[in-house]
Symmetry: C2
């Protein structure tokens, strides 16, 4: 990939002297910042923008590591062949007109992919805006050269964007608004060869990059992406556009139907320690926050000191902090004493610190600095949130000094700025090289603060591969699981649960019966209350088909249930007697094989709440126990599992082990398509599978 | 209030020629825009900024309706007396140093309040930034005159802010950034006399004001505020800073403990049709959206057409829309055909419309206009969301024409803008007078769109007062409720439920028993399974005290439960036998008397989920059935109540009636402090009170 990022010479195929055209913009951008040789290629010119122009790629002299191509799509295959023949290792195709335009374009794309495969050259694009490298001031792109006017602010965040237009437009926006320093922006377009994983791997090793933000519409290889993210301490933030609806329609189990709509990818991202964003600026803001505090040690705490010039903003900050898992620091006495020195007597300092009365007495600089030093020295403060104003009210502050104080104390500093437009802009520009993330809205500032301080870090280590392999190997050899190899389609409830039990998942006591007398004997063994179910081949939703009788409390109830079921099933099914498992909390757990992600595990709130409250989480198998516990932690209903008001706390390790086993089982038997445990009842805190369904291919 | 908003002459007490001081800034601001006579008052000057200066307020000639006061706090009482004597009806005190500074300041404030009460003059402030009236270009404030530099953009949104600093700072920010047109900004400070309700009432009748946004830290009179909001079709948006923790500590019932933390005020706001915001810019953005579309007829639908120059932004918009209750329009065929005329053949148009291929063929203006006309003519489109770019890429659009098209079609238009800083700014400035809300972030644009299109409108009418009065009167005369007048403290479970039952709330079948034989007879009447409870005076949390035995299925169980309870209670309590009510859904309902809001009603998800999922809503009594149904609609668990997967749908009218009755009961008997129905079980869709607690004063 070196030739894309550090080319010793660049050919621009399709260069032109015609102003405003892409082939001219590329040359202009190279002229402004790139210091290696630039070779425009176009038979129609002798020179372009001062560079000697060449007839064809074959005529370009050494050194040349990269060709940037901007010619009509139908001409691209020939250019690629020429580049390969000339020995140019990397080609960046910025022309559009390929797979995004339908079958003809897709055929063209396939043709050049073929050439690349045969010759070993690497292709970036097509249909992309290329690369912008801010610290080097190298722009390999058709992006408008007015981007240079406001100055390219270097920073340590690199961005990867699948959309070309977006990458260009957003870059212009970010750069001209001065809110964010950038290392590299990579626009990957149709990613026919070089994809997000190739670039991510490069950026993980790029010393200029401390945090990586991605906008993607599809993940080429989600498992490789996860592995890359887990391999590095560098924070990765992703905005994943579009929902993955694939496979949902045909789903047989509850688990599979829940796996649509992005929940699965969201689970995979969380498992890999990736931060997810929902909007472009949120992606940028999360990325720059993590870029600025990339080296902050993990679990620094969530207690924040708020220094504000208006009590109102302090109150609103505290309210928003509460929703993002942040707390107001309880200052120690010495902090309060120091604060009191700059405040009028009538004002006992508190957090949020309303600085205004102090500012009136001592001016803004002294008041802010004194407060800053006091809160940074306070062990009860994990982070500082200052509110600044640019535009009157004598509210000037020395941001550099405050940034130094915070840095020396090892405490992340966040800043909200408002005021007059031009002064706000200058403030933002000043703050950027000081490493202080500045925000225009308190809400976003607090959101970023929460994201940073509450990040699940250190990233969860993957299992030693051998451990998962060994567990899976043992499952493949278990004779009790032979049914998984010899059957197809849905296994009935009884057999499904026998499989789960053999793997170590606790299941309800149950017995299949044919006659009422058998049912009576089972009842005598289990004790009332009981559940009586009808098993009919092909009917997996028993409740909806009136095949479940709950709360059987006597022989009389039992007789009536058995008779009713026999009538309902018209002699086609069998009867299952189960001990009724009492428990207030019903969860669901399951396995699904996703076309892209492969074996995945699900856990969620079950029963009547499952669909209403939409509380399900996914993980990618095989899981470690830590992965599984982290999944459980992501459930909205998690507080319910901790036990209160007399209820038993749930044994989370037991629950986690069930999730690990479900994943292992799916890995061991590739014919398993879906597994559904619904409900998984928490009985005195212990999970028990009450219904189970295994679906084979 | 006329004298504050339309004064025929203004005295500035504490005016000074000293640059930068508040007393000078007020005069400068008046000089710039106010056309009536200005009378600076200061014994130290002959003239200030070209105005003749007066020795004291008594010397000021006619006409003078308003005095703006900016002198040291200790001098204010004398000034107020002078103003009253001089016959000046309105005084705006912008000085600080009153109740916000402690007891001395509070005493000063009380002193001037006394003068006002005696003389009938009205006081605005103190500790405030006064009034800015943008359409009139009148600024009665110490705000920095640089605010005039960028031009005051008139609009139809008026803002009321409790915090002075915030009002000034935020105004400077909004005005200089050009994102928002403003009618009036009122900074009310300590609101010792003129409060948010006085101003709200004025603004409701102000022809320049179409929407009202408020930042408040306290509601002076929440019920009057609600009545005002319900009296007008003008949208009201509120940011309510700070939580109301009052009373929570001493709460005896579940209902009362849930009423803390702002939930109660949030319920009151929803009931009054008020939109709530969480941040300052969100408040501004909601307000300007509602201001621009104040006359949009209600329930216009939630189907949106998205026109974008980058597919990525279209996808992200659709994802965010999904979370805000908005749908992508399904275009009719003629719309698709019209779109196809400007698109290349390979691109079948869809929603979101990715305009880029069309722009390449036909330029941005023609493509956007054709698309705009097509989607505005489509009956499947309720609103249009366009993405614009300012800064290259040949992406100029004719916003005025598009705004006209949308206006003629009666469809609200929203716009996301990004690009080069100065061009973005000009775009925003242009859009403001066109009445198109423009946003810098897709997330915020969609949030505002969702807020507008899904607003609960028309505002719910209040009960004809007589209906509620009549219901309440009947309750006060019901002899079965005599116990409420004659008792104090907690009523026991049996008596509590007798009260609820007498009011028409369905309660569980139950019987108090003393001997086992009585219990057996009750069991024979009710049938198993049963619940057996111990009632001990002063113990309201029975489950935690092991006083509840569930699932009693036989005489044997019953005997054992009764014996155990008798032992637990050591002869101090009584035993209650209840029919066990099966039901998957447990709610809670209750009544609480709030120190500020008075009688309030609560409803929420109950059982183990109550605290974990924090799903409770409040209303202010007396409720109409419509109020109660709207409360139920606000529950997060609402989808559960609709019935699915074989469960019975909940009878929402029956549930609503229970809430109405709880409110009426609390209104009828002022001694009722709290009522708690927990659980309220949905039995075959019908709510049944299974446990009840009435707490009297």
């Amino acid at each position: 990939m070196e030739f894309f990022f550090r080319p010793r010479g660049i050919a621009v195929v399709g260069a032109t002297a015609s102003k405003g055209k892409g082939g001219n913009l590329i040359v202009l951008n190279l002229k402004k910042g790139y210091f290696g040789p630039v070779y425009p290629v176009n038979p129609g010119y002798d020179e372009i923008e001062g560079f000697t122009c060449y007839l064809s790629v074959s005529d370009v002299p050494d050194p040349v590591d990269l060709a940037i191509v901007f010619v009509a799509a139908h001409m691209v295959p020939q250019v690629i062949e020429d580049c390969a023949q000339r020995g140019i290792p990397g080609v960046m195709i910025q022309s559009a007109g390929f797979s995004e335009t339908g079958t003809t374009g897709a055929a063209l794309q396939e043709k050049i992919r073929q050439t690349a495969r045969e010759t070993g050259i690497r292709l970036w694009g097509p249909n992309c805006m290329g690369l912008v490298d801010v610290p080097s001031q190298w722009i390999f792109s058709t992006v408008t050269p007015t981007i240079w006017d406001t100055g390219l602010t270097p920073g340590n965040v690199s961005l990867i964007a699948q959309s070309g237009m977006l990458a260009g437009a957003f870059l212009i926006d970010l750069i001209s608004h001065g809110t964010m320093g950038i290392a590299k922006v990579c626009s990957i377009g149709n990613k026919m060869d070089v994809d997000e994983n190739d670039l991510l791997e490069w950026l993980i090793h790029d010393p200029d990059t401390a945090a990586i933000g991605l906008y993607l519409e599809s993940l080429t290889d989600c498992r490789r992406f996860m592995a890359l993210c887990r391999s590095t301490p560098k924070p990765v933030v992703i905005l994943n556009g579009g929902k993955t609806a694939g496979g949902a329609a045909a789903a047989q189990s509850h688990t599979a139907s829940l796996s649509a709509g992005g929940a699965l990818v969201a689970g995979a991202m969380a498992q890999a320690g990736v931060i997810t964003a929902d909007g472009f600026y949120q992606l940028a803001d999360f990325s720059r926050t993590f870029g600025m505090y990339a080296h902050l040690p993990p679990r620094t705490g969530n207690r924040v000191a708020v220094l504000t010039y208006t009590g109102a903003a302090g109150i609103v900050s505290a309210d928003i902090m509460d929703r993002h898992g942040l707390e107001l620091s309880q200052f120690r006495d010495t902090t309060l004493e120091t604060l009191q020195t700059v405040f009028p007597e009538w004002m006992p300092p508190a957090n949020p610190v309303d600085m205004w009365p102090g500012i009136i007495l001592n001016g803004s600089k002294k008041t802010y600095e004194t407060a800053m030093q006091a809160v940074c020295a306070d062990p009860a403060v994990d982070a500082v949130f200052i509110h600044c104003f640019a535009g009157g009210f004598s509210l000037e502050v020395d941001l550099e000094k405050m940034a130094d104080t915070a840095r020396e104390a090892g405490k992340p500093l966040f800043c909200w700025i408002s005021g007059e437009r031009d002064r706000v802009y200058r403030f933002q520009k000043t703050a950027q090289p000081l490493g202080v993330p500045v925000f225009r809205e308190i809400m976003r500032a607090v959101e970023c603060m929460g994201m940073l301080l509450n990040r699940p870090c250190p990233k969860i280590e993957t299992d030693p591969e051998t451990a998962a392999e060994e567990r899976i190997r043992r499952l493949t050899q278990d004779p009790r699981l032979a049914v998984l190899a010899s059957n197809t389609g849905e296994l009935d409830e009884l057999v499904s649960k026998q499989v789960l039990k053999a793997c170590g998942i606790p299941v309800v006591e149950e017995k299949q019966v044919t006659f009422f007398e058998e049912a009576q004997r089972a009842a005598a063994d289990f004790g009332f209350p009981l559940v009586v179910k009808g098993m009919v081949a092909g009917v997996s939703h028993k409740t909806e088909s009136s095949l479940v009788h709950l709360g059987i409390a006597s022989d009389q109830d039992l007789a009536s249930a058995v008779t009713t079921l026999q009538q309902t099933m018209e002699g086609r099914g069998r009867i299952l007697i189960q001990k009724q498992v009492p428990g207030k909390i019903e969860l669901v757990a399951g396995f699904v094989r996703d076309p892209r992600l492969g074996p995945c595990v699900m856990c969620g709130l079950g029963g009547i709440f499952a669909e209403a409250l939409n509380d399900t989480v996914f993980g990618v198998a095989p899981l470690t126990l830590a992965d599984a516990l982290a999944m459980i932690d992501r459930l909205k209903c998690r507080p319910m599992l901790d036990g209160y008001r007399g209820y038993d706390p749930v044994d989370k390790n037991a629950l986690g082990r069930i999730l690990v086993i479900l994943g292992d089982l799916g890995c061991a038997y590739p014919d398993i398509r879906e597994i559904d445990i619904n409900p998984l009842i928490m009985h005195k805190g212990d999970p028990v599978a009450v219904d189970g369904l295994v679906v084979l291919a």
